[in-house]
Symmetry: C2
Subunit: 309 residues, 2 copies
Amino acid sequence: MAISVVGHANPDTDSVTSAIALATLLNAQGQEATACMQIAAADLNPESTTVLNRFGLAAPEMLSDAAGKEIALVDFSDIAQGPANLDSADVVAVVDHHKIGDITTNNPILFRAEPVGCTGTVLNKMFKEAGVAIPKDVAGGMLAAILSDTVNFKSPTCTEDDKAAVADLKAVAGVEDTEELFMEMLKAKSAVDGVPAKDLLFRDYKDFDMKGNKVGVGQLELATLDQVADIREALIGAMEEVKADGRHTVLLMLTDVVKEGTDLVVLSDDPALIEKAFDTKLDGKSMWIPGMMSRKKQTVPNLQTAFGC
Amino acid sequence: MAISVVGHANPDTDSVTSAIALATLLNAQGQEATACMQIAAADLNPESTTVLNRFGLAAPEMLSDAAGKEIALVDFSDIAQGPANLDSADVVAVVDHHKIGDITTNNPILFRAEPVGCTGTVLNKMFKEAGVAIPKDVAGGMLAAILSDTVNFKSPTCTEDDKAAVADLKAVAGVEDTEELFMEMLKAKSAVDGVPAKDLLFRDYKDFDMKGNKVGVGQLELATLDQVADIREALIGAMEEVKADGRHTVLLMLTDVVKEGTDLVVLSDDPALIEKAFDTKLDGKSMWIPGMMSRKKQTVPNLQTAFGC
């Protein structure tokens, strides 16, 4: 049986290109493996579509049900972020750079997570250690993922390992100017014109369980907050709809990549708890948090502390 | 704060020497770290004591409570096999070769598990990748751990990676004859004369949760089953005592390392389930299972399937 390599729900560029990269590595090592994702190609976010087009990579196959399959996880290890029936599937490998989730297995497997900025950085090491050359198109995708996840090295999640991987991968991919690649992705990802508010909220959105409370956190990376000024109320409307579906809190991080800070929009059953989490007072429905760039490294740990996880 | 590197409860040689090895690697990388174990040095099993003495290694410090500490786990990732209050400690790294357990974290960490025969094999790779030379005494401990865990390469858990690591480590440790080292360990570990039955049962013993049922599995590796002929009833008595403490099943694997098979002693609320698990009929309180050498790769997966985990 071929291994289905799949990233988390609402895939970002790392999740998509890491599925391609790990499937490529497994194939090179003689294992049948197919890159997958939990959505159809038409539903990929604009940044990921731009990256796949630029490097001539095919979109991963859609996989929505893991029942009876051999599954490799990339870029996550939380059951809730996987395809349906993941808990009854045979998980054969995990490669990630997030906190350790609740996946368990009945047998020993490869589980490789490192505290670096991007799963692509871990995969670059794995190719090197295995002595397998990375194909040019795959290297391009991995390069783009690292620039995206580390916000062009500006995110606090960025490590020396990520910078070293970029140096490796740009040579293999034949990309001379990574600034130009990053700006092309940022332009694609931050385009909001004509996109429904709910689609924007779900562009990069994850649900978390915080001591029994369901908490959703979306993030929009923007070149400037002006881009969303006219649709702010529509975004809040979309958040209200999502919150009404059994959530304690829904947050939307409007992250200004140039100013390096986040306008955090808050809908919560307990706004004081959120104020405490970020040590900042709400101004209406939102708070400006200088330096906040990373959901994973900044927003979620602060929430977990506040919720007592 | 120094990181406490600790292996599982009832430590075996891999658990002890891997704590020493990872602490050494972390120190070499500029992180304060101390090798620990969950017992006092006097309670180490005879094989581990022999290995530490032979290579001139100090026994790890005793650590029984993880509260408020930074902890690195070696050779396990199940909370139940850790020190007290592990679930409230700050787990900063995991290196293992078992099935993926239920440890989760709030932050990204290094989690490196591989489906190989020994944690020492994974650590050997990590030293190489980091470009850190392994001290001679530490290499000796890692070498002994791989020979022990793979039963001198005979266990089905043994991989090419383990053999490659042994080739690396015997050179660093200055051990010419690994057969001789293995027999020295086997002689130490299988000595039963004058040892109380309960101590023998607990020499290498682990509890597992099987769908809400507590199941204990001990293993004694022997040069011949004759070694335990006279103390068989005493061992069953010790098992009965342990089973009476809320366990559904207690198994003792009497593994004949030379004949390559296990005499499995069974005390269970549901003996038919255990017969089904191993597709073998009980002969009195035990069954002979040819080829069974590994609790992790053979006994536990078969039990999990039978219990419907």
